[in-house]
């Protein structure tokens, strides 16, 4: 008996007695003895709790209790007359405040409440929101520009989360791998970098690391990372740095190849094809570069108003579809790595699915799936507009990135680039992509991580709210995901079962696309809680 069925059986206990039973549950109970036993045990428990017998208490005892209270009330002034004492407890001030539980178990469906309720203080939502942001790691960072910003909160200007330990290790190894000349230049920032690395080591996994975007492309500019929340300042700063990078690049491009060699070593991220600055200048990654020049395209993330940072991928003349059709493998892998940040929340699983829970623990070392599932790689936070990412999945017909034809990375980026290191750490993207594409089944995870599934499913909140058309309630959706990431079936149970709203919700979920995996299929049940919009 699978978890969705258990959930359905449990949910059926809450139906009104005159409500029609869920046909799936009725069928399963008829056919499966295990399901029958489970339903019976739950029913027995529920019934026992509902008819919990009370010990009889004499009327006089109740009256005595009330009389004692009367006496105390007589000594107590009403609220208006109570003098406020110093150090009065919060509860004294308002005894009817919402109870705060020490164990406060946030249900996984809490994320769905964000459909209509913003819960700024909710750490779970922060974590989930963070997971749905695209990677902020610049597509191709040069070694000396590793300037991570340590924040205790999610930076809205950033879209990436990197495992702090990995980044700290990366910073250290970057220092050792940097060429001598580069080290010279990086020296002034050395103490600061060390302090940051030290700070990073001291921090726990909860810390989000948001490397600055544009600093990667402009090594010499002392990028001042903004603190979380300073969105506009960060955006303007990023744009300014991108403009600086562009200016630097164009200057370099006009020089002779010999002259250009040195600066290019400093800024390999700018471009490996100095004769063609077009890709760098491209305001949106959707514009294909001139087809003549094979190049390592490195579009600064800050130039992309959507915040989507495509991975630097040396590509031949083939048209680019980086942002639309192919996810940044590094972003995928980082998100998998970021699962470690929220892995401690595995107990309060978003999907009450034992398998999914297990998958989370194994998320960090996983290699990112082959970049053919674009819908998953377009997370919500990457889109400033309201439409969530998975709400508009890329159709399966969208051509995948022609990774097989990808040439080896140019020596400018070299094996010493942070991008390469990131790829090695996270096990995906960049030079590793062709290998991953060559043997996809061996590299795929056994099943998608819970956070990946949650990211996709929570991204459907917008369309599902539209489906609900103002109605509220819970719509548990039993989903069967095929190993290609496509949804094989989606059935809505509960109050919306068999209704047009339920059909609409199921249709939205059926169009979702998950990362590919090795297992035959994955069954999950995801309860969408549709709440009235906040006034």
């Amino acid at each position: 008996m699978d978890d969705p069925l258990k959930l359905k059986i449990a949910a059926s206990l809450d139906l009104p007695t005159d409500a029609a039973a869920d046909p799936d549950v009725a069928r399963a109970i008829d056919a499966d003895p295990e399901a029958r036993a489970y339903a019976r045990s739950l029913h027995t428990l529920d019934a026992a709790l509902r008819r919990w017998p009370e010990r009889p208490r004499a009327e006089s005892s109740w009256e005595a209790l009330a009389a004692r209270l009367d006496a105390r009330v007589a000594e107590t002034p009403t609220g208006a007359k109570v003098k406020k004492k110093k150090g009065v407890s919060r509860e004294e001030a308002d005894p009817a405040e919402a109870p705060v539980f020490q164990d406060d178990l946030h249900p996984p469906t809490e994320s769905n409440q964000a459909m209509s309720e913003t819960q700024d203080q909710d750490a779970d939502l922060e974590g989930l929101a963070a997971l749905t942001r695209t990677s902020n790691v610049p597509p191709s960072m040069s070694v000396p520009t590793v300037r991570p910003t340590l924040t205790d909160e999610v930076d809205d200007t950033s879209s990436g989360i990197v495992d702090i330990k990995k980044l700290a290790a990366m910073a250290r190894s970057a220092e050792s791998m940097a060429p001598a000349a580069v080290k010279e230049e990086a020296k002034p920032a050395e103490p600061e970098k060390k302090a940051e690395a030290k700070k990073a080591a001291a921090k726990t996994d909860d810390v989000m690391v948001t490397p600055s975007r544009a600093a990667a492309a402009v090594p010499k500019v002392d990028h001042v990372p903004t603190k979380g929340g300073n969105t506009w300042l960060g955006m303007f700063g990023g744009l300014a740095l991108a403009a600086g990078a562009f200016a630097l690049y164009t200057n370099t491009a006009r020089q002779s190849p010999e002259q250009a060699a040195a600066p290019m070593a400093e800024a390999p991220a700018a471009n490996s094809a100095p004769s063609d600055p077009a890709p760098v200048a491209a305001p949106t990654p959707a514009q294909p570069p001139p087809p003549a020049a094979p190049m390592a395209v490195a579009v600064p993330a800050s130039a992309d108003p959507t915040g989507a940072a495509p991975a630097a991928t040396p590509e031949p003349a083939a048209p680019r579809e980086i942002p639309a059709a192919a996810p940044a493998p590094a972003a995928e892998a980082e998100r998998a790595a970021a699962d470690t940040v929220v892995a401690r929340r595995a107990e309060s699983a978003a999907v009450p699915h034992a398998a999914a829970r297990g998958a989370v623990s194994a998320a960090a070392p996983q290699r990112a799936p082959a970049p053919t599932t674009a819908a998953v790689a377009r997370p919500a936070a990457a889109q400033p507009e309201a439409a969530p990412p998975a709400a508009r999945p890329v159709p399966p017909t969208a051509p995948a990135r022609p990774v097989a034809a990808t040439p080896p990375p140019p020596s400018g980026g070299g094996a010493h680039s942070v991008d390469d290191m990131m790829n090695r750490i996270t096990g995906g993207g960049g030079a590793a992509a062709p290998a991953a594409a060559a043997a996809p089944s061996a590299e795929l995870p056994e099943r998608p991580t819970r956070s990946q599934m949650t990211a996709v499913l929570s991204g459907l909140n917008g369309p599902i709210r539209t489906c609900a058309n103002g109605q509220t309630g819970t719509a548990p959706v039993a989903i069967v995901i095929g190993n290609d990431g496509a949804v094989r079936s989606a059935n809505v149970s509960g109050q919306f079962s068999g209704t047009p709203i339920g059909e609409c919700i199921a249709g939205v979920v059926r169009r979702a696309h998950f990362p590919a995996f090795r297992a035959q299929q994955v069954n999950i049940t995801y309860p969408y809680v549709i709440l009235p919009p906040r006034n």
């Binding site: 709790l49 209270l69 609220g79 509860e91 005894p95 178990l105 249900p107 469906t109 709440l531």
Partner: protein, 189 residues
């Protein structure tokens, strides 16, 4: 929305009529006591919680605007008081005579069955105690008090989805920790 009767008593109580408040106490104290008993597991503590709940309600009666049911407001205060009391009594002493456990009925049709059921309820009470604060409180409100999820959400200040998940999780955990024999004894005759 508070009932008309409650509203009348409330209005008078707000104006300082202690008898009106006494009437409210007598009307609601059994429900509040039942909840307090389930949350504390001790008859003495339950009485204290009831007293404290109504005292706090009296002090803050001007805050109650009457938009919600009075009992949900009282329940919320009761949950707060009971949680505080439980946290203060960190050393939990097993109550040999758990007041939540029904007494075996002497002279009933089947004394053995009655004793078995009492024992099963003791196990059930223990299993409830083993749940976390949030799950236990939600489960008591949902199943023992039989409040609709909407009211529970109001009492606990959370969403109905949260309530639904907690109830589901509590059921799952209860089933895991209750032995099949106990379940059999709890079945309806």
């Amino acid at each position: 929305m508070a009932s008309l009767e409650d509203q009348q008593w409330l209005e008078r109580a707000r104006n300082g009529d202690r008898k009106a408040f006494g009437a409210l106490v007598r009307q609601h104290q059994r429900r509040v006591h039942r909840l307090a008993l389930q949350l504390t597991g001790s008859a003495g503590d339950a009485d204290d919680v009831v007293q404290e709940t109504f005292l706090r309600a009296y002090r803050a009666i001007h805050r109650f605007d009457g938009r919600a049911d009075l009992f949900t407001w009282l329940y919320r205060i009761c949950v707060n008081v009971a949680l505080n009391l439980r946290r203060q009594n960190k050393r939990v002493i097993a109550d040999l005579d758990d007041p939540r456990v029904p007494e075996p009925v002497d002279g009933g049709a089947d004394p053995a069955l009655s004793a078995e059921r009492a024992s099963a309820y003791r196990e059930l009470a223990k299993a409830l105690d083993s749940l976390s604060e949030s799950l236990r409180t939600t489960m008591v409100l949902a199943c023992v008090e039989q409040l609709p999820y909407k009211d529970i959400a109001q009492v606990l200040g959370c969403s109905e989805g949260t309530v639904a998940w907690r109830v589901h999780e509590a059921r799952r955990r209860l089933r895991e920790c209750i032995h099949a024999d106990v379940l059999a004894a709890l079945e309806e005759p």
